[in-house]
């Protein structure tokens, strides 16, 4: 195979953002991802908040890239047809000392360049956030905070990068890196060997291992777990903004979050984890999150919780590590991208392009870059009249597969066309199985549609890749 100019390792929001940004240029670009689909790493399990940029250490990469990323994300979402909602956030104070800290946070935020910060009083809170505890006395209002669906953002970035020529390889976990001279990397994966001049490491939790393979082992990724709990969509309007407590030394605290699909979410915890693959949730985490959330919104109850998950923050110290490794020319680390990595992603992509340029790669714009993508259709999100027209045009929009979230056979088939290969992939793209019944009713139908579309027996269909097959075989005698 002809060598790539650039190979990106990792198909999370960082890898996908870099891929899409660089696809503007006349370059041969490849992306290798170890999982069965993109977005199955950290980027699928986070809070989905596009942070305004407060609460970052002055002078850090994080601080600068977060403020920039907040602006860039809006533009990218518009171009790619991803919903971005500017809901605003409130950092809530419950006593006078906390009120004092709000002023400090405001000053720091303004110095970082965060626009529109304002202290609001309890009367404002009563009027604009009626379910908030009446013990709240003031809040720092950051109007530019927003929400997106993190996995849909990754899917749409990847799809658009693909349209502009980037080659994606999934199930291609990097097992070894060798060098055949300066800027001649050989990347070994189960999908074959790839050659490249520049190598970008965006491997999330495993970025330290990739970096060590390339010969740079001066940092370690320490996973820090965050457990999050989703509430029933019936509680969608429990808050109007994202609600934050005052931050501690190590984390932003337990939040009450609005999500792009409507379900409110509470979390995340922040505990060091021993294992990069340990995504278990705990009774203790549940209790802690529930209590903290109730401190802000007393009416949240245990019975509102309909789903939960854990994500691991890939932390490598206090700041992001984004640099060309001069020791290994052509090798760029984009590591330790913990929060606010989702927000900073598009700014990180620009920074990486700049680093490449400074290190000898010429970036020539293509004559034609397909920057726009048509928004993915979701029946639950559109008015009835539009549904009527769609069903007329294509009958299978009227064939409902997932009853809880109202997902049609057409949407499922489209998701598969766009790359879904697993039941989780279908869920993240369409929301089928993400509702109250958790797939009790639609799993069999989804299995069949996926099996027919990708021409694989039902027994080989997985939840999220090899090892997670849904069934153990055919019934005896069948």
């Amino acid at each position: 195979m002809k060598p790539f100019d650039i190979l990106i390792i990792g198909g999370g929001v960082i890898g996908a953002s870099i891929a899409r940004e660089l696809s503007r240029y006349r370059l041969r670009i490849g992306l290798v991802e170890k999982e069965e689909e993109p977005a199955f790493g950290v980027s699928k399990s986070n809070s989905g908040i596009i942070h305004p940029g407060t609460q970052n250490p002055a002078g850090s990469l994080k601080a600068r890239l977060c403020v920039q990323g907040n602006i860039l994300t809006r533009k990218i979402c518009k171009e790619l047809g991803v919903d971005f909602k500017e809901v605003g956030e409130l950092i809530v104070a419950f006593d006078e000392t906390e009120r004092g800290r709000l002023l400090q946070l405001k000053k720091e935020g303004e110095a970082l360049g965060v626009p529109g910060l304002e202290i609001v009083d309890s009367a404002w809170l009563k009027a604009n956030e009626p379910n908030l505890s009446d013990k709240a006395i003031a809040a720092l209002y950051a109007p530019t905070a927003g929400i997106v669906s993190p996995y849909r953002l990754v899917y749409d970035l990847s799809e658009n990068a693909g349209r502009n020529g980037v080659k994606f390889y999934t199930g291609a976990g990097v097992e070894g890196i060798s060098q055949r001279g300066e800027r001649r990397f050989e990347i070994h994966t189960p999908q074959g060997i790839f050659n490249t001049r520049y190598l970008i490491n965006a491997a999330g939790l495993f970025a330290d291992e990739i970096s060590a393979m390339a010969g740079v082992d001066d940092f370690k990724i320490r996973p820090r777990k965050g457990e999050e709990f989703l509430l029933d969509k019936k509680r969608e309007h429990i808050t109007n903004h994202l609600l934050f407590p005052l931050p501690s030394q190590t984390s932003k605290g337990i939040l009450v979050i609005k999500t792009s699909d409507g379900n409110p979410m509470i979390g995340p915890t922040a505990e060091d984890a021993a294992d990069k693959e340990d995504l278990s949730t705990s009774d203790a985490g549940f209790k802690k999150v529930l209590l903290s959330a109730q401190k802000m919104i007393p009416s949240i109850s245990e019975d509102d919780v309909i789903a939960y998950f854990a994500g691991l923050r890939p932390s490598a110290g206090k700041d992001f590590i984004i640099r060309h490794e001069d020791k290994v020319p052509g090798f760029i680390n984009v590591a330790g991208i913990q929060s606010p990595g989702l927000t900073a992603a598009p700014a990180i992509a620009l920074l990486v392009a700049d680093i490449l340029k400074k290190n000898g790669l010429s970036l020539n714009k293509k004559l034609i870059f397909h920057g726009h993508r048509e928004k993915t259709m979701q029946l639950f999100a559109i008015p009835q009249e539009k549904t009527r027209r769609l069903i007329k045009k294509d009958a299978s929009y009227g064939d409902i597969v997932c009853r809880c979230e109202m997902v049609s056979a057409k949407e499922v088939k489209d998701a598969i066309k766009r790359g879904a290969r697993t039941l989780d992939g279908i869920k993240f793209r369409t929301r089928a199985q993400a509702g109250r019944c958790h797939g009790s009713f639609c799993t069999t139908r989804l299995l069949k549609i996926l099996s027919e579309s990708i021409e694989k027996p039902v027994t080989e269909i997985t939840k999220r890749g090899p090892g997670s097959e849904i069934v153990k075989g055919n019934k005896s005698g069948d």
Binding site: D283, I306, K392, C437
Partner: protein, 310 residues
């Protein structure tokens, strides 16, 4: 079907029956075990046989129009409903409406079982559908959470398919299923049952590898140090049923938050006049015979409501 037939027998002439599935009979179709109809037909039938009796009956009545694959997406207070089916979005206004939407199973998430989210965690009903309708074997070493009837019946079903059922784990002191199911499905197969225990954790990265159970006291609090681990590749969740009433809730019917049933002082009636709810969507019954009888009452009530209005 029972409600439609009863309404027709009571004189209603223009009935539309909407079903979202591609066949009539609902969940009975996957209940291939026997025990249905003892009260209603005084015969022992399987689920599909029981359903078939009603299907045969209803197909003889031209006044009942049946529309399959028809999914109701919207319902308003004035009993206007919108449904979609392949190729069609249709709005109809009914003078009287009977909801017979059944129930769904409680999920692992509703009882907050901690741990990982691998494949191999099924509601008992989904496992039943996979085996009985699709001819697939969901797993080979099974632990069942809860002793609801579907769980008990599935324990036997898995044993008959050559799978091993390692344990049935019930948080209460006694089973929540029918006694006959405990005897025929659990005791006859010598499946260990653990009362006063709850599954506290599901373990495994891609596929279920084990579950952890813990003993609980009378207030259902964990007793420290009583953890037991069961190796398994499958967990069935059978911890109860919830009436499906999201549509009438949308229309503004008062719903009891704890049971998800309509708040009602009289059988089958709701806070909206002329909107009736029957069967398991009114309240969860143990056996289908009671569901049919309840639904017939709803059918007659609907007919009476129409007569009074004219």
């Amino acid at each position: 079907m029972a409600a439609a037939i009863a309404a027709h027998e009571s004189g209603v002439k223009d009935i539309l029956l909407l079903e979202r599935d591609q066949y009539l009979g609902g969940i009975l179709n996957q209940c291939i075990h026997t025990g249905f109809g003892i009260e209603y037909f005084k015969e022992v039938l399987t689920g599909p046989e029981y359903a078939q009796r009603f299907i045969k009956e209803i197909k003889k009545i031209p006044d009942i129009e049946i529309s399959l694959k028809s999914f109701v997406v919207d319902l308003t207070r004035d009993k206007t409903l919108t449904f979609i089916k392949p190729g069609i979005l249709e709005k109809v206004k009914a003078r009287v409406l009977i909801m017979a939407t059944g129930c769904r199973e409680k999920t692992r998430e509703m009882i907050h079982i901690a741990g990982t989210r691998p494949s191999g965690v099924f509601s008992a009903g989904l496992a039943q559908k996979l085996i009985n309708i699709e001819g697939l074997l969901p797993g080979k070493r099974v632990v069942i959470a809860g002793s609801g009837d579907i769980g008990l019946i599935m324990a036997r079903r898995f044993m008959l398919e050559g799978a091993e059922v390692r344990a049935v784990i019930e948080i209460e002191k006694k089973t929540r299923g029918l006694l006959r199911n405990v005897v025929q499905c659990i005791e006859d197969f010598e499946i260990p049952m653990y009362f006063n225990h709850r599954i506290s954790k599901i373990n495994g990265k891609d596929r279920v590898e084990s579950v952890t159970a813990v003993k609980v006291d009378d207030d259902l609090n964990d007793i420290p140090g009583t953890d037991v681990r069961f190796d398994c590749d499958t967990v069935l969740i059978s911890v109860g049923l919830i009436p499906e009433n999201e549509l009438i809730e949308m229309a503004g019917v008062q719903i009891d938050k704890k049971t998800n049933s309509p708040v009602s002082h009289e059988l089958n009636k709701t806070s909206i006049p002329g909107l009736f709810v029957c069967g398991n969507s009114f309240k969860v019954y143990d056996i289908v015979d009671s569901v049919s009888l309840d639904s017939e009452i709803a059918g007659r009530l609907a007919a009476e409501y129409l007569r009074k209005k004219i």
